[in-house]
Amino acid sequence: MRRVAGVNAPGRTDLPVLKPYDVKAVTPDGYIFTRWVATLPWWTPALVVLAALLWPLIASAQSGYTVYDAFDALWRWSPFLLWSGFFFNVLISVFAMAIGTVFGAALGLGQISPNRVLRLAAWFFTQLFRNSPWLVILFIVLLAFPFQVKVFGVTIPIPDWMKGVIGLSLPIMANISEVVRGAVQSVPTAQWEAAESLAFSRRQILWQIILPQCYKRMLPPWMNWYAILTMATPLCTLLGIEEVITLSRQAMEAEDNHPELLVPFYGFILILFFAYCYPIARFTMRLEKKYAVKL
């Protein structure tokens, strides 16, 4: 191992030494998923369709139900799957993202608070929800939340899909919290010092000087988490929420559960998600590149 004076060998000076650091070790790539999606060529879904066409041709030789019947069924069901199913997934993702962003921003600011108790509490909740499996969080929310709450004598029902939104917003909240903390800490401390020298209060420095510099660099990771969240919305089918997976299973049941239906139906869902997330992924990577240079 290379010996570096002041790091793993006795210092040659009594002055403070800036230790060298490994850039890769301190900045884990949070974009693995988005980067992968963004690098796919746009015609990837066409391959899926082709595979979907070829597979039943081989499989369905002996049964009376052909691949054409299966695609016919899909054709009839597709508007329903799109408007009632997939758009519900989008709705869930938008709500979960909105809630996760608001609470995540608050939690992230808590993590950089000068108040030690607040900082530790915010750190704890961030780590808790960031490192728990999403499905476990979803089930806990489903089982732990009442199906209705009474506020000032008014009974407000909490439908299952709302619980799904809350369950998905919790890990998003935790990850947005980290995004906010990371962005604020990426602003050089010299900016804080310059503002302090001009007699700005801490609150003013944060809101007027530091955060306005952060919005741009928070946008790509924020979009990255939105794409991940959207891809995670099918988890809600396990809660019995009538989103696209649940509905397509019901549709296939209505079509007598022919095995030939599986690939066209799930392939269709795959294309829907791809069509929705692909532009987001491409756009995210473009912004990421654009803002990465200007620090």
Binding site: D14, L15, P16, P188, A190, Q191, E193, A194, A195, E196, S197, L198, A199, F200, S201, Q204, Q208, I209, P212, Q213, K294
Partner: protein, 248 residues
């Protein structure tokens, strides 16, 4: 205890400051009178910047006392914001706010901190930018300005708060040689107008020209000091002689 202008505006008494086990200031004392210009020179790592950062409370001290206009800087009861309204500071790396234009950089603190009238602040900010010869650059962002221009915006930004003392922390060290002059000219004008200035600098020629008093620091102490007329020619301490020998 009220401060009157015939007393030192900045007074340091046996100031000690450590970073962990490393003591960077080992008992520094000196006084600065109103309207005086002092330069602190010395080799790298001698504690010059630390010293100047202690005066507006950016760094805390372990022992001793620093007063600005009679107020103890490191009194826990002191409102640091009130102190910083009186003490302006300019940094080596300019530290302008990159998301604001030059004019906005200058206007921000008076509007948000001093709560002054926006139109009046804008008038003053434009005048200050003209004073540092940056007319026409009001709407430029820091990224569009050269180092020397950014540093002059930073000086205007500090002046907009109408400080009583200005601290300059190696303000020309990051500049290209040809832009150093434009910044030094600005500082010299300030000094001639009677602004109390404390400069950490490596520009010996400039120090000789503008300073009323020069302090030479090495390893956390003031080794020698004097007016420039005698300091550069009659240095007595061998450390001072060695330092001056290297750079003059």
């Amino acid at each position: 205890m009220t401060w009157t202008p015939d007393q030192p505006i900045v007074s340091l008494k046996d100031v000690r400051k450590s970073f962990g086990d490393l003591e960077v200031l080992k008992g520094v004392s000196f006084d600065v009178m109103k309207g005086e210009v002092i330069c602190i020179i010395g080799p790298s790592g001698s504690g010059k910047s630390t010293l100047i950062r202690c005066i507006n409370g950016l760094n805390d001290i372990q022992a001793g006392s620093i007063t600005v206009e009679g107020q103890e800087v490191h009194d826990p009861k002191l409102d640091k914001l009130e102190l910083r309204k009186k003490v302006g500071m300019v940094f080596q790396q300019y530290n302008l706010f990159p998301h604001k234009t030059a004019l906005q950089n200058v206007m921000m603190a008076p509007v948000l901190v001093l709560k002054e009238d926006k139109a009046e602040v804008e008038r003053r900010a434009r005048a200050l930018l003209a004073k540092v010869r940056l007319q026409g650059k009001e709407d430029s962002y820091p990224g569009e300005l050269s180092g020397g221009q950014q540093q002059r915006v930073a000086i205007a930004r500090s002046l907009a708060m109408n400080p009583d003392v200005m601290l300059f922390d190696e303000v020309t060290a990051a500049l290209d040689p040809e832009t150093v002059k434009e910044v030094l000219v600005t500082i010299r004008e300030l000094a001639e107008e009677g602004m109390t200035c404390m400069l950490v600098t490596h520009e010996m020629g400039f120090a000789r020209e503008v300073a009323d008093h020069i302090y030479f620091t090495d390893r956390g102490v003031i080794v020698e000091h004097g007016p420039p007329s005698t300091f550069f020619t009659d240095a007595k301490d061998p450390r001072t002689q060695e330092f001056l020998g290297q750079i003059l």
